[in-house]
Symmetry: C2
Subunit: 415 residues, 2 copies
């Protein structure tokens, strides 16, 4: 009995995450160097601090520590998030904050709270796969908006919105990752952020602003002031802001949060009650103590330099090995380099050659909603060591040359 | 701007959990004794073991420990769950198991994977609120089935199914908690379990079997063999089995699991990818090490006695204080005592008197889908100490007498 016929329509249409699939492929071969997952480097984790903190909080035997907790989140952690917000110029009352089990849960709760089947959600082209999956599972109709070097194309945004409305479509929100976007690494200009907020208020469309990477700007390419969130200038709750501690503390603690208007935050809390009751209390306590002990704040400069250096190593290796065959916008922060292959080579053609050489990446079309993205590869430099980056790019270079040679000897396709 | 008009239909209809609401009320007054939440007693947690384990795993600096993990769950934990299954006579391959972020996530994934809006889900009357919320959020139509002293009423089940089918309704699954049901504490007889499985196969309806309390039977009232799961006798995947370590290890680790046919387990995994990517890796590792160290197995006899004794204390106190005003089926395991008030008093009338006296409980109608349940209170004896149970029941007795006196002096209602 396969029970296929019992599936809901949403479940029958669900697609696996291409990033997770690629991760599974890489996990099967210990010798593969993977540029696929957007994972932080584990040598950058504050191992000793967590060991001290875990011991300290367990020794106290606080009767709430290992118990179920409030769906909203552990109240002292919510207070600490307000302090983090102050440093980001975001003002949010307690009833505007909801702790989530990773930002992925935030995206899921946003989807369930806002999307009826057929509602339009606007996304940047390309955009983060996890968000696309969450919106699709709520049966949203996704429509893409082009990006330029300084972020979303406002002309395309306006034209698309009016075109959709002229067809009677309801547009619920626009999803953006202004800081070091996944997958492109682009930084949206401050002027565009201001214009987006004005657009949202004028057109009565919500903005979902996802900001996992904002603290990880590279000193040689961006300033902290350039990462100012759209939310910071939003007095009326037009922006739903998501952020996370997965990239700066550790993903295992699954601690992220949403800032939204009290109405929307309350509905998301109700959705979360039925989704996982509460985010893990022990995890929340570890994260809170790490913030209180200054672990987060004191490590940020180190982390910025840690990832900046990896980006430099990857860029130098790419220039040396395949500078003629790939181009990319310089990453100004975050985890990703978005490389485009010189035609006629494309990423799906390259991938089997790359796997054969022992290196992998995520093909660009995973981040598009329209099967575009053929020339693109997302190369994450966050996880591998410097040596692995150099060796991985060397293998990628070998794969590119093999793929080019193979194309050269293939019979020309009829067109 | 309240943004109400942006809500999805599902979100606009979401209701708060009455259990969580009551928890919030109790949390505001330190002097209130709460019989509301189904929380394990924190003095029963293996504090020292978790301290040792946390230190050990963090000291190792395994590079996967604080990282994102596979959506399916940490593979060695899945292996350990197979060993737990063997003790429960359940056979499940790896591709039939999915680790979830608490059993609440299991219920949510089941809902999203199986329910289209309008599909019928059958539930016991009364049934677990968290399940009701998850099914409702997927826009299921809930239909209740009566229970008898030995569990679900099979005649009512058959009649209801055929009635629904004659009206052209699609019935997706039946949700049951055979072991020490939440809220009634009832234990379904083995004969009924066998009959249910035969019914499911004959009628082609799935069974969702939720088993958080099975290991917590009381030696003076039930035998391990009486908790045998329906899943244990299901060769063809008609049963989706959920279990959890929240009641036996600790809720904070948010580690539970689902067993389902490979097809359904794979779809639930896809749904989980977009829901929270993965259950916390650190939590999963703590739980795994606790299982490997024998913490779980060795503590079960202690836990059974710990909760059995609390049940005895509560029953003795109830008999002494309000034996004339309440009746209940003897809990044979688990966390709950399901008390019914002698007419004309009902639980919603009693509740304000109880709060005024400094004691609280969950009113019965929270567990019904049809606004029934007026006479019932769910009294959880799992969390309070013996002294708190005695004092709480004393206060409850005072509240009952006040409510009865108040009713006696109220003008008779016209009928």
């Amino acid at each position: 009995m396969s029970h296929e016929r019992f599936l809901s329509r949403a479940a029958a249409a669900m697609q696996p995450s291409p990033i997770r699939q690629m991760g599974a492929v890489a996990a099967q071969r210990a010798d593969v160097i993977s540029f696929a997952p957007g994972y932080p480097g584990p040598d950058a984790f504050a191992w000793e601090a967590y060991r001290t903190i875990a011991d300290r909080v367990l020794a106290r035997r606080d009767r709430d520590l290992l118990q179920y907790g409030p769906t909203r989140g552990y109240p002292p952690l919510i207070d600490a998030l307000q302090t983090l917000h102050a440093a980001r110029d975001i003002t949010a009352e307690r009833d505007e904050i909801l702790v989530t089990t990773g930002s992925q849960q935030g995206l899921d709760l946003v989807s369930r709270t806002l999307i009826d089947p057929g509602d339009v959600v606007l996304v940047e082209l390309p955009s983060y796969t996890g968000a696309i999956l969450a919106f699709r599972n709520a049966q949203a109709a996704l429509v893409g908006i082009r990006q330029e070097a300084d972020g979303i194309d406002l002309t395309d945004l306006d034209r698309t919105l009016h075109d959709l409305r002229s067809k009677g479509r309801r547009v619920k929100f626009l999803y953006v990752v202004p800081n070091f976007q996944n997958p492109t690494g682009l930084l949206m200009s401050l002027a565009k952020r201001r214009a987006l907020l004005a657009w949202a208020m004028r057109e009565q469309v919500l903005i979902v602003e996802d900001d996992p990477y904002g603290a990880l700007y590279f000193d040689d390419a961006a300033k902290a002031s350039e990462t100012r969130s759209i939310k910071a200038d939003d007095p009326d709750g037009w922006v739903i802001y998501l952020s996370s501690l997965s990239k700066t503390l550790a993903p295992a603690f699954r601690t992220a949060w949403v800032v939204a208007s009290p109405t929307l935050a309350m509905r998301m809390e109700l959705a979360k009650q039925a989704t996982d009751l509460c985010t893990g209390n022990f995890d929340q306590r570890l994260v809170l103590e790490a913030i209180r002990d200054g672990v987060l704040e004191s490590r940020l400069p180190t982390l910025r330099e840690y990832y900046r250096t990896k980006r430099v190593v990857m860029e130098e290796a790419l220039r040396a090995e395949i500078g003629d065959a790939v181009r990319w916008p310089a990453p100004r922060g975050g985890f990703f380099l978005w490389a485009s292959l010189a035609p006629p080579l494309d990423a799906p053609t390259l991938l089997p050659f790359a796997l054969n050489q022992g290196v992998t990446f995520v093909v660009g079309h995973a981040f598009f909603i329209d099967h575009g993205g053929g020339p693109f590869m997302r190369l994450a430099f966050s996880l591998p060591t410097h040596d692995q980056i150099r060796e991985g790019v060397r293998r990628l270079g070998a794969a590119v040359r093999e793929a080019q040679a193979s194309a050269a000897v293939s019979p020309a396709r009829e067109t």
